[in-house]
């Protein structure tokens, strides 16, 4: 479905992508994983034929360099944050349906699919971030393309909107769409991906199953726990006695947890009668991102 051979993209002397090769079969859902600047967005934009590139790239059997417009017709694209024109939801879909040569009758179908039918008369500027991303997904689905390309589609959404969006994409994946998406988030990759391509400084360094990603890259999840100041020393003792790896940080403590053991430290503190004021789950990729941030 998608074949890249020695895909290279240079910005003057800097190679944003360096001889990246991969094959994605029809129906696969493949995550592009990497820190900022790793080359994820560049790869997706090369797929769309928006960037000039070296090497070979085909989508659905179409040579992207020679027939970029035809390749784009086979792709539904959802960017990280979509900027729509100042139109209503229906007008927006009508405009893009005409460009995509999609039947106008598809508009009602995609509105229903992304649960935006009650908002069809609203101006796009009045929509929440989550609704805008659903509208972008609706636009992407107008021509019922075989391939969906999603560039960190949930990065700017709140937790509920993230979950809703992931559910929608999961159902599209189950319906047989080929999906390529970029992400920083381990939970998103685990929920959506059937395979992960890891990019680092423009090079493909790993091609693995999502479940292998954390152990292969040494990623961890960290549970950040806030406890009252008077209980902090006791908290560190309890966690240390049970063999947890932890890092005190101000009024909170970072505790390294396994992917399936997120609740255990909280239960441990509860049994030791240490009150937990708040907690948050932080994926290891944030540490990875911090190390490579550009």
């Amino acid at each position: 479905m998608i074949i890249a051979k020695n895909l290279t993209k240079r910005y003057r002397k800097h190679a944003a992508l360096h001889e990246v090769s991969f094959t994605i079969k029809a129906g696969e859902s493949v995550a592009l994983w990497g820190a900022n600047g790793a080359g994820k967005t560049t790869t997706l934009r090369c797929l769309l034929g928006v960037h000039a590139f070296e090497g070979e790239l085909s989508v659905n059997g179409i040579d992207v360099r020679k027939r970029g417009k035809a390749a784009r017709a086979a792709i539904g694209y959802v960017p990280q944050e979509t900027t729509f024109y100042d139109l209503t939801v229906v007008e927006t879909l009508y405009f893009y349906a005409r460009l995509k040569k999609a039947s106008v009758s598809r508009i009602d179908d995609v509105l229903t699919q992304v649960h935006l039918s009650p908002h069809n008369a609203k101006r796009v500027t009045m929509l929440s971030g989550g609704m805008k991303q659903r509208l972008a997904l609706a636009v992407a689905l107008l021509s019922d393309p075989p391939v969906l390309v999603l560039d960190e589609p949930t990065a700017s959404l709140d937790v509920k909107a993230q979950r809703d969006f992931i559910h929608m994409v999961q159902s599209l994946s189950q319906a047989g769409k080929t999906i390529v998406f970029s992400s920083h988030r381990l939970d998103e990759v685990l929920a959506l991906g059937s395979r992960v391509l890891v990019l680092d400084e423009g090079k493909l360094i790993l091609d693995c199953a999502p479940q292998e990603l954390a152990p292969r890259l040494g990623l961890h999840r960290w549970l950040r726990i806030w406890v009252p100041a008077e209980h902090k020393a006791q908290t560190l003792n309890v966690l240390g006695e049970q063999g947890y790896r932890f890092m005190p940080n101000g009024h909170s403590v970072y505790v390294q947890v396994s992917l399936s053991g997120k609740v255990a430290p909280l239960r441990l503190l509860e049994s030791a009668q240490i009150p937990v004021e708040d907690f948050d789950l932080i994926d290891g990729e944030l540490l990875l991102q911090g190390e490579n941030d550009d």
């Binding site: 944003a16 934009r45 417009k69 694209y77 960017p79 900027t83 405009f95 040569k101």
Partner: protein
């Protein structure tokens, strides 16, 4: 392969956007209002008096076009691609099954439609008032002047798109368009006057330098249409009349047409090649 349906879709959207644009509405109202005021100043009276008054009104309308049309054409064109680029709308649009030539031509034609509608409204209102007051001596000449204003508007819009295709930021594109406007409207004229005063350039050279400016092309062609001679332009005008004779008007119109196509062609080439400028903000691999 260029898809005319895509160009039409994009042009219709741009036309609708332009008609909703406040800056555009202000221009339309100002242009139509001033054209109306100028036409109302035509004095009814005897034939000779009316002829003189019509010439003055027509000259005032030409000056109005020379000030307003380049300003709005340049700024609307310059802000268009650059604005979409800055908001991220352009990269999203180009991720659809369209090509860059279709996008640029669609946008150009849509705004051109709105701009020509505005000019038609202004000249139309002025024409009605002039007719009611018996001020139009040569309706064909008046319509020809409107046609020349259309050509000037398209040339300025094309120049605006050229600026838009080579700048990353809306502010830079608008700044550039204002500089070009100032240059064409004021500095160009002053430069020619200064050159003539300080050098002994042959009059033919002075004329050729003058007609490199599309505003001068419009002005000379309009005067030629209204007055049938260029005495009002002094020695350069007389030189042009004597030297080119009946070919002068077609040459001037041809010059304006070139000023439409060359900047637009430049914009198409640059927009097609400079992918760096499609992205929002800085290059972000």
């Amino acid at each position: 392969m260029i898809d005319l349906a895509n160009i039409r879709t994009l042009a219709e959207k741009e036309l609708r956007d332009a008609l909703r644009n406040r800056w555009f509405l202000v221009f339309t109202i100002a242009f139509a209002g001033l054209a109306l005021v100028l036409s109302s100043l035509t004095q009814p009276g005897g034939m000779n008096l009316r002829t003189v008054s019509y010439s003055r009104t027509a000259a005032s309308l030409i000056n109005l076009v020379l000030l307003f049309v380049p300003l709005i054409g340049l700024t609307l064109g310059a802000a268009n691609l650059a604005g979409d680029r800055e908001t991220g709308a352009l990269i999203y649009l180009l991720s659809q099954p369209v090509n860059r030539v279709e996008v640029l031509l669609g946008k150009f034609l849509g705004i051109a439609g709105a701009l020509l509608a505005t000019l038609s409204l202004g000249f139309g209102l002025a024409g009605v008032v002039l007719s009611l007051r018996g001020g139009i001596q040569d309706s064909g000449g008046y319509l020809f002047t409107v046609l020349l204003a259309y050509l000037l508007a398209l040339a300025m819009l094309g120049l605006g798109f050229l600026l838009s295709s080579i700048t990353q930021r809306t502010a830079a594109a608008l700044g550039g368009s204002l500089f070009v406007w100032l240059f064409l409207v004021f500095i160009g004229d002053l430069g020619i006057m200064g050159t003539v005063a300080s050098t002994q350039l042959p009059i033919g050279t002075v004329f050729l330098i003058a007609v490199l400016n599309p505003l001068q092309l419009f002005k000379i062609a309009s005067i030629l249409v209204i007055q049938a001679n260029l005495e009002v332009l002094g020695p350069a005008g007389l030189y042009a009349s004597d030297h080119f004779g009946g070919f002068l008007l077609p040459l001037l119109i041809g010059g304006l047409v070139l000023w439409i196509f060359l900047p637009l062609l430049g914009a198409v080439i640059l927009f097609g090649r400079q992918e760096r400028l499609v992205q929002r903000g800085k290059t972000n691999p």
